[in-house]
């Protein structure tokens, strides 16, 4: 056998499990049909939250999520940022109806109980705000609110979380292959023996043999498992987010949508994000686009508390598929009802292990459980997991950006962006500038992206396509859609990865296509003028 385990899917579950398996000495092959994080993981809200939603239904989930959130902070402190949230009260206690009072009381108990778990993830306890305090903190809220409670959450760059788990796994000997799709799980006499794969860029095909196949293909996993006769009980839910061009609040604001669901508006770097919708989706998972209704739903919900967003420039709408467990499976040793590990043996596919559901926030614990199961399937003793102790790449000794900016020739905001993305490896990125001052060129002012970072990611972070740089270092993701940076990024990547001129052009077109899909439904106002400019700037392609 070539490997001990083949992992299908480079989302947070696949990459997290690859890292754990590799750290425990297993021979791992990770196959991802596109790039790390392109599925639910990268398109999630990126909140390493403690699962306050589960407070009422399952406190074990909350405790687990809080504890694991604390672990992620220890191993990747650079990737995380604190987001204080406020949950405004829309009615007053006295004079409120009985129902409003009950909701009011429940919120406080709910948030108060959550406080007990906050130390697990170094969150601050909640506070109550009077109306005047609330408006001082958040003047953009609509008038007539009666106060709020605060709660503390953490955000993360989910794409980098996936990529760093994968790169870490590689460091422990795992083989990574992006843009490689698993076409078929191979089986013999009721046992899997590996997979058949196809490289979608080169067309190359091959087989990789292993006694265990871990199906972490997210919303695609039912189809993959079904081909082996295994039923993965999943209920896919489409979730749409909007990105707005600037900060419309200083704090995250918890909102109630028109249909009573919870939503949020949160500041994110220099932008804001509104999320999310949640609707059943049984279409093709490769064909997701935000609809006009979804966009309206999000805007209306956000405008109900922060009216200013109605004037906002929406820079993109992005979607992912939640992979919620549909029903109880047969195996109840799952850690929680939030995720399940399904063994294919009863369906005649022994060695095929599938994961359904789970949160980004508890990916590490999910990966630990999966790795334990993989070791058992391999007939080995379960060995200790160390993924909560050993830092992810760059997670050790994260440098102070200001100090770094003094030491090396970069502006402090640029240094901050690089430290956020690369942690201690920011030094390696910036060392490239010391060796070649040309790489000190700021490719995108908005994202604080340096030419050196593009080159670094291409060399060290499994970049096979130009669009991978959207996820590694936010190339061409901002409101300008890559007006300044796309062609320059393509040239830099092309040089670093020895692409031909034709390949560079094709990659550039593919990068622009990816942005177009996200902006097409939201073209309005200034953003539409920006799109026209972008199309013109890249429209000089009429081949005579």
């Amino acid at each position: 056998m070539d490997y001990d385990v083949v992992i299908v899917g480079g989302g947070v579950n696949g990459t997290g499990t690859a890292r754990d398996c590799a750290m425990r000495g297993l021979r791992v092959l990770l196959l991802e049909k596109a790039d790390f994080g392109v599925g639910a993981s990268g398109n999630s809200s990126g909140m390493i939250h403690g699962g306050i939603r589960y407070m009422l239904s399952d406190r074990r989930v909350t405790a687990l999520a809080c504890r694991d959130s604390g672990a992620i902070q220890r191993i990747a402190p650079h990737l995380l940022f604190r987001i204080p949230f406020i949950m405004p009260f829309t009615s007053r206690r006295d004079g409120a109806t009985l129902r409003e009072r009950a909701a009011f009381y429940a919120t406080e108990v709910y948030v108060g109980t959550y406080d007990r778990y906050q130390p697990l993830k170094s969150g601050k306890p909640s506070t109550r705000l009077r109306a005047d305090e609330l408006y001082r903190l958040e003047p953009g809220l609509r008038p007539g609110l009666h106060g709020a409670v605060t709660l503390d959450e953490w955000g993360i760059d989910p794409y980098r979380l996936c990529a760093l788990n994968a790169v870490a796994a590689r460091g422990y000997g795992a083989t990574l292959r992006t843009w490689t799709e698993v076409r078929q799980v191979l089986a013999d006499g009721g046992r899997v023996r590996g997979v058949r794969w196809r490289d979608v860029l080169t067309g190359e095909e091959g087989e990789a043999l292993a006694p265990v196949v871990f199906n972490a293909a997210g919303a695609w996993s039912p189809a993959l498992a079904r081909a082996s006769g295994v039923d993965v009980p999943m209920r896919p839910g489409k979730g749409v987010h909007l990105t707005l061009d600037r900060r419309y609040s200083s704090y995250g604001v918890i909102l109630t949508a028109v249909d009573g669901r919870q939503m949020f508006l949160m500041p994110h770097g220099s932008e804001s994000i509104i999320g999310t919708t949640d609707d059943d989706y049984y279409g093709d998972p490769d064909d997701l686009e935000a609809t006009n209704d979804e966009i309206e739903y999000l805007l209306e919900g956000a405008a109900s508390l922060v009216p200013g967003v109605r004037r906002a420039r929406i820079t993109r709408a992005w979607c992912g598929l939640r992979t919620t467990v549909r029903a109880w499976g047969r195996y109840e040793d799952a850690l929680s009802r939030e995720h399940q590990l399904l063994d294919g043996a009863p369906d005649g596919a022994a060695g095929l292990l599938s994961i359904v559901g789970g949160k980004l926030a508890s990916y590490r614990a999910q990966a630990q459980e999966a790795t334990d199961r993989i070791e058992r399937l391999l007939g080995r003793p379960v060995t200790p997991c160390r993924t909560h102790e050993v830092p992810l790449p760059g997670g050790d000794a994260v440098p102070d950006p200001a100090a770094l900016a003094r030491e090396l020739p970069v502006a402090p905001p640029v240094a901050a962006g690089i430290v956020h993305r690369h942690g201690s490896r920011a030094r390696d990125v910036l060392a490239l500038v010391r060796d070649d001052p040309r790489l000190g060129l700021v490719v995108c002012r908005d994202a604080g992206l340096l030419a050196a970072e593009v080159v670094y990611c291409c060399r060290h972070e499994e970049v096979r396509r130009l669009q991978d740089l959207r996820r590694r270092c936010r190339l061409a993701v901002g409101g300008c859609g890559g007006l300044d940076c796309a062609r320059l990024g393509a040239q830099l990547a092309g040089r670093t990865l020895s692409w031909s001129a034709d390949r560079i052009r094709a990659e550039l077109a593919d990068l622009l296509d990816a942005g177009w899909r996200e902006r097409r439904p939201v073209l309005d106002g200034v953003q539409l003028a920006q799109e026209e400019l972008l199309r013109a700037a890249h429209g000089l392609v009429e081949v005579a």
Binding site: E289, P437, L441, Q491, R495, E532, A536, L540, E542
Partner: protein, 436 residues
């Protein structure tokens, strides 16, 4: 009544000072009318590549020898025949027939900047390594015409200037060699000054002072000699002010013809074009008003723009598309200055009623396909009068010119500045006739 802060009475008021507005004003002025031009800010013209595209040839085959390129006017006719909604079709056969005259008029008006038109289009390189056809180009680009370069073409970048990748451009242009284009080589030379982070307009300025262009020309002799080059192609940063004669000075020092490529954004050649139009308007005695026309009444009535009250019998709306601000989408497509109806198309349907459709239904998934949303704009009759949803002129003395007229995607269909020149010229001439 308080006295009006300054009343300007002219025959023609032009709103917008891009290529279309400037051409309209100059054509009307040239025909004897008094003209005022009001504008808010630079528009698409100042961002353009700097060369005038008139029309791609819809019937050309990609394998044809380059020498078979059709004349711009003929290409425009073929385009009009295939696209009944295109402004070239809207102006009618008689209008389109004057395209050659309009181009010559533009070249004469911008004589210091533009090279004289040829019978055939020029084939010019972009910084992405493609070749596009141009009916008119700046003098700084002329020697890069792939159909006229004698001997190999050396594409040369500047060391430290990452934005222009000479090897990439050369590899792209080599695709044209088998069809009659020149042999291509590439090189990199050090700039006579050192600033790796300089932006294009900073580089352009830095080449202007005495000695700078000459030192660059000297440095080019080495790689040009090694290739046996017949001409040198450089990034589009050869001076901001044409009076500094940067390309000519580099060429003299290098001992061979030198050209720059077309530009992407930000565009030094676009800035040059903008400056040249402004200078020409001044010389021609056109009154300039800076400010925004918003909620304006109809021609013949006084309108206040940026503190000046202007009265003119004829108005020409040349306010551009989305970049210029002549058309906007604010939940629905609108024409902000005069509130004229905006026409959009969806599938086989077209009309004013589509202006409220969601953005997604006015676009198609394939980014490279024509996008109806980006072709939205005013509909005009053959006399360039904007029409309402029933096809009737909104006002007998209100004309439109340039990208504010819909039916073409100004940014990508290769006819943007050509449409601006033709419709600007026709509108200006027509307005002068009415004014007289």
């Amino acid at each position: 009544m308080t006295p009006t802060p300054g009343l300007l009475e002219v025959d023609v008021l032009v709103i917008g000072a891009g290529m279309a507005g400037a051409m309209a004003a100059l054509a009307a002025r040239d025909a004897g009318a008094t003209v005022a031009v009001a504008s808010r800010a630079p528009g698409a013209t100042a961002l353009s590549s700097g060369a005038v595209g008139v029309a791609p040839d819809p019937t050309a085959s990609p394998d044809e020898p380059l020498a078979w390129l059709r004349a711009p006017v003929e290409a425009a006719r073929r385009l009009a025949a295939r696209r009944p909604d295109h402004p070239y079709a809207a102006v009618g056969v008689a209008g389109l027939w004057r395209l050659g005259e309009a181009l010559r008029f533009a070249a004469r008006q911008l004589e210091p900047l533009l090279a004289p038109p040829l019978e055939r289009p020029r084939l010019l390189a972009t910084p992405a390594g493609n070749a596009v056809r141009a009916a008119l180009c700046q003098r700084s680009m002329d020697a890069g015409d792939l159909l006229a370069v004698r001997g190999p073409l050396l594409v040369c970048g500047f060391a430290g200037h990452l934005a222009f990748d000479a090897a990439l451009v050369a590899a792209g242009l080599a695709r044209y060699t088998p069809r009659g284009g020149p042999e291509v080589g590439d090189a990199e030379v050090a700039l006579p000054f050192d600033d790796p982070a300089a932006r294009p307009h900073e580089l352009a300025r830095a080449l202007e002072p005495p000695g700078a262009a000459e030192r660059l020309g000297e440095a080019l002799r080495i790689p040009a000699g090694a290739l046996g080059a017949g001409a040198i192609l450089l990034p589009p940063v050869l001076g901001l002010d044409p009076a500094a004669r940067v390309p000519e000075r580099i060429a003299a020092a290098a001992g061979m013809p030198v050209a720059e490529t077309l530009s992407d954004v930000p565009s030094v050649p676009g800035l040059r074009l903008h400056a040249a139009l402004e200078a020409r308007l001044r010389v021609a005695g056109v009154a300039r008003v800076t400010g925004e026309a918003a909620g304006a009444p109809a021609p013949g009535r006084a309108v206040e723009i940026g503190g000046t009250v202007v009265r003119a019998e004829t108005w020409i709306l040349a306010s551009g598309r989305f970049v210029g601000g002549g058309i906007a989408r604010r939940g629905a497509l609108v024409e902000p200055a005069l509130g004229l109806p905006v026409q959009a198309a969806e599938g086989r349907e077209a009309g004013v009623h589509l202006a409220r459709r969601p953005a997604a239904s006015l676009t198609v998934r394939d980014r490279r396909a024509p996008q109806p949303l980006l072709s939205a704009g005013l509909r005009v009759d053959a006399a360039l009068r904007p029409v309402d949803d029933r096809g009737r002129p909104v006002h007998p003395r209100l004309l439109a010119a340039g990208a504010v007229i819909g039916g073409h995607e100004q940014a990508t269909d290769g006819s943007g500045l050509g449409v601006a020149i033709l419709t600007g010229f026709l509108a200006g001439r027509a307005a002068a006739r009415r004014g007289a």
